[in-house]
């Protein structure tokens, strides 16, 4: 159906979006790349001037080759940060997808007040990450006045300090709470499109619940699941506020993003942090590539 005319029109219509994103990607990326090969310690007086400096690759800063790259990757914090990042992303994905499927199936059942329940379930998605981290940290996980510690005491147990003794599970809990609604909603829409006659036929044939779930429901959901995973991964790789507010990166919760933040803003070593940024981009792209292979296939279907 596409004529030559409509093809060139289509290209024209796509141009602004593509161009803007290209600029948005290339400008910061190239600046980050340049800085990553430079010694750039602002508090030591390394400054860049406006105007010419920008065009001439900041001559006021010294080139240091790959020093920042090797320093960043040999730092004792690097590998733990990578594994923390993957652990948080993986943990939250598993929890939200599994609970999301169960919740979606439940919400699909006939019941009274379905609309209201859906409103309750969807609510955490509207809460800003900063607020949710603050509320969880202070009103629930605080070892002295938090609701959880009151609960613990009510059962005669010594309250534990969740954000230090179980920091990773706490953060995964907070983030999962925020993203469960999203997963549930997408999965629910997918379940609702399931052909109920097919299910009924299987039920008639006497197929047990688990079997029906495994052979009919799950395959039907596979596309929705990959989409949930893709979108959430994009957002989860970048989580920051939840860690900044709750642990500040202590107790083994320092993700790669957070490590970069510490290098750039806390240590004010822009060169080193920029090298970290390049690593993070590479990691994100590896994850993206893996995802795209899976999702890309599913998107065609």
């Amino acid at each position: 159906m596409a004529t030559q005319h409509s093809r060139s029109a289509a290209r024209l219509m796509m141009a602004p979006a593509v161009f803007l994103l290209l600029v948005w990607m290339l400008v910061p990326l190239s600046l980050t790349l340049i800085f990553s090969f430079k010694k750039f310690l602002p508090l030591r007086g390394d400054q860049i001037e406006s105007g010419w400096d920008w065009v001439t690759f900041f001559p006021s800063l010294d080139w240091v080759g790959f020093a920042n790259y090797s320093r960043f990757v040999t730092s004792s914090s690097f590998w733990p940060a990578v594994s923390t990042t993957l652990l948080i992303v993986g943990g939250v994905l598993i929890i939200t997808v599994c609970l999301g499927i169960l919740l979606a199936i439940l919400l699909d059942q006939p019941m009274w007040g379905q609309g209201v329940v859906r409103i309750l379930v969807i609510a955490p998605f509207f809460v800003m990450p900063t607020v949710s981290a603050l509320v969880w940290k202070n009103m629930f996980l605080d070892p002295n006045n938090g609701l959880f510690s009151h609960l613990w005491r009510a059962f005669g147990a010594e309250p534990i300090s969740f954000l230090s003794e179980a920091a990773m599970p706490s953060i995964i809990l907070i983030v999962s709470w925020q993203w469960l609604p999203f997963a549930t909603l997408i999965l629910l829409t997918a379940i609702q499109s399931l052909d109920s006659e097919q299910l009924e036929a299987a039920e008639m044939d006497g197929a047990p619940v688990l079997k029906r779930f495994w052979f009919i429901v799950l395959p039907h959901l596979s596309r929705a699941i990959t989409i949930v995973i893709l979108i959430q991964t994009i957002f989860l790789l970048a989580i920051f506020a939840e860690i900044f507010v709750t642990t500040g990166g202590a107790f083994g919760t320092r993700t790669l993003s957070y490590l970069i933040f510490q290098r750039v803003l806390e240590s004010q070593n822009v060169g080193l942090g920029s090298a970290g940024g390049v690593y993070a981009i590479i990691l994100a792209n590896i994850v993206a590539l893996l995802l795209m292979r899976v999702v890309g296939k599913n998107l065609d279907a």
């Binding site: 508090l43 300090s161 202590a250 107790f251 806390e266």
Partner: protein
Amino acid sequence: MSTKTALRAATAIALIAGGAAQAETITIATVNNGDMIRMQGYTDQFTAATGIEVEWVTLEENVLRQRVTTDITTKGGQFDIMTIGMYETPIWGANGWLVALDDMSAEYDVDDILPAMAGGLSHEGTLYAAPFYGESSMIMYRTDLMEKAGMDMPDSPTWEFIREAAAAMTDRDNEINGICLRGKAGWGEGGAFITAMSNSFGAQWFDMDWRATFDQEPWLNTLTFFKGMMDESGPAGYATNGFNENLSLFQQGKCGMWIDATVAASFVTNPNDSTVADSVGFALAPNTGLGKNSNWLWAWALAVPAGTQKEAEAKQFIEWATSKDYIELVAAAEGWANVPPGARTSLYENPEYQKVPFAQMTLDSILSADPTNSTVNESPYVGIQFAAIPEFAGIATEVSQEFSAAYAGQQTVEEALAKAQALTNDAMEAAGY
């Protein structure tokens, strides 16, 4: 209404609006501490007197540091006044990023600023930030619990005594912890406390060659002692407690002793906020007999970033906010115990203020802290709970994170120290030492 009247009215409104727009507005970045929030309440009086409008950007300490540091190093110019401390001021002053406060009015009486504070807020003898309040640290303890434990607090106790007293005061069934101390990660939180404490144990951050010294005995002693005492008598989850968390615990009567900033004294003795206001005693921060007490020196101060368009107005505000008159203003409205302490000599000479129970101990603590000679052995840096070099904040935050992980039992003290040693030397190398 005729068209003419309408037009005239419109012109009048436009004129008023134009006039209002001409009034200068200064933007101040500040920290969400009690004294600062109180100051915001009095800003109207400043505006009424000078016609200068004030916009506040109130941020939590960590966010504030990150925001103002980024802004000053990139010459962002978002703020006309920044609230900074003794750590930032000399470094920024040396880089030429701050306006020198060397032309204050005679009435302001710049020589009245406590020498310890003025010294810490200067670079090569020039004042770059005016202290809004200054602090050292001291012991605040519950006189009633001390009595119940059958002990007497000396004016200048040792750490051994503190540990014994803490154990004696602890009453887990009634949720009373013998001692509350900062364990929270962050160089200005637990990092500041443990560094000041380590000074009294004979430890220091760097030796004369700028190498880290976490592999040496005094640091091991400091950390082992701290963790041992806190596990025995500290509150649950002390590894995440900072100043504000401990303040709230103490106010609720859940701490026997608390060693922290002297400014806290006015909060714990204020009956509106504190349930234990009438039974708080004070003593100098503890030592180990090596000649150094474990008290620090700090000031939250107001500075003007170089390059602001509103330098004159900003200075005018600083003169108002850190003046003797402002102290009088707060004293008249809220009582002498609530004025910003630790900044001016005249305050401690004021007979009214001398009646405040913690005034003398605060002054004694401040006077006994010497940033230029803070460690038992010789060290190459200035500062008590910090080393005044640009790299310190980043390094100390990571080191204190390792320490906090040890407090929480995630690793041993030895492991934490080994990691601290490695990461400190690594960062110092990266900075070219």
